[in-house]
Symmetry: C2
Subunit: 191 residues, 2 copies
């Protein structure tokens, strides 16, 4: 594991996605790994931390999650713009070489049988909370975050440091039609 | 209604929140209006457009939504940083003058008996889709977007124009402890 990757306290894990980035969702089952992009992911609770993510029925990642009951939500960076768009537009169901073609490198973290995407800024390992009605009616999946990590070059001491880090570390926020925005400047409330 | 406010086609309404902004949620019931901030709001479907929002049981806005079955999700701007933080930290249950104290101005839109917050960049009028289990177990509410509008100075022809608009129009993305980020620069995928 990259020496810059450090655990994030579970009670602060929500901060990794609180600002609404587009995320990558990855999963593993029976020797198959897949990674997809999801703009529709959102924090749901603080303690234990939970999140929601919308997973289309056509996605192989969804099938792997339904089979394994686990997944990773990770925060890609501006440097991963092409990768993020690519994994969101090619299905493993159509191309068994998807991950290689999209430039995805995976790594492992001890104690978690899950595929983590290299080069991201943050990772949240999740256990699926089975809610069949939500999954069928709305494609809506709920995960409990069981462990989290971040790259200390852009997130440390419970805070993002987008302003001080290289711009290539900025999170991605998808709109439509290949158009993303990077996260911008900090704005601090006057108390 | 401000002459800059223009309807957004329902099939493009998801684009108003797809980049993960912190939103304001407003509702009205029996002569009472309330507005709260929500970082945990997310698109859920394209057609008909749906969204999710997490509403704490302590919030008066939630009670109004449960009673009226309707609400507005609106996208506040960098110019509304203090307002957004203020409505997220004061409850109408504790102070009947909350909205005035927080500097909230409301306006109406014909055909919708809902309070719309002035000065925002976009508004999504929603009908509550009742899901008692989600609401009770997770504080998770699902809305169907029945109409949407945006301020044409920052959103037109189905697209945000954050780069060309004044920086005061940028959307807000909350992290924690009074720390927000504004949305940043556009990044376009090379096809």
């Amino acid at each position: 594991m990259d020496t810059h990757i450090s655990p994030v306290e579970l009670q602060k894990a929500y901060r990794l996605i609180n600002h609404g980035p587009t995320v990558l969702v990855s999963a593993r089952h029976a020797g198959t790994d897949d990674v997809m992009a999801a703009a529709w992911a959102c924090a749901l609770d603080f303690a234990p931390p939970k999140l929601t993510v919308v997973l289309d029925k056509s996605s192989k990642t969804r099938a792997l999650i339904e089979q394994s009951g686990a997944f990773v939500v990770q925060v890609p960076t501006a440097a991963q713009l092409q990768l993020t768009h690519a994994v969101g537009n090619l299905s493993l169901n159509d191309d068994p070489h998807k991950l290689k073609k999209c430039g995805v490198g995976l790594f492992g973290i001890k104690g978690h049988d899950l595929p983590f995407v290299a080069g991201c800024s943050a990772w949240l390992a999740c256990k699926l909370i089975s809610e069949p009605h939500n999954q069928q009616a709305y494609d809506l999946f709920i995960g409990e975050v069981v462990a989290a990590w971040a790259d200390t070059r852009v997130f440390s001491n419970g805070r993002w440091h987008f302003k001080d880090a290289d711009p290539s570390w900025r999170s991605l926020h998808y709109v439509a039609g290949g158009q993303f925005y990077a996260i911008g400047e900090p704005l601090t409330v006057q108390e």
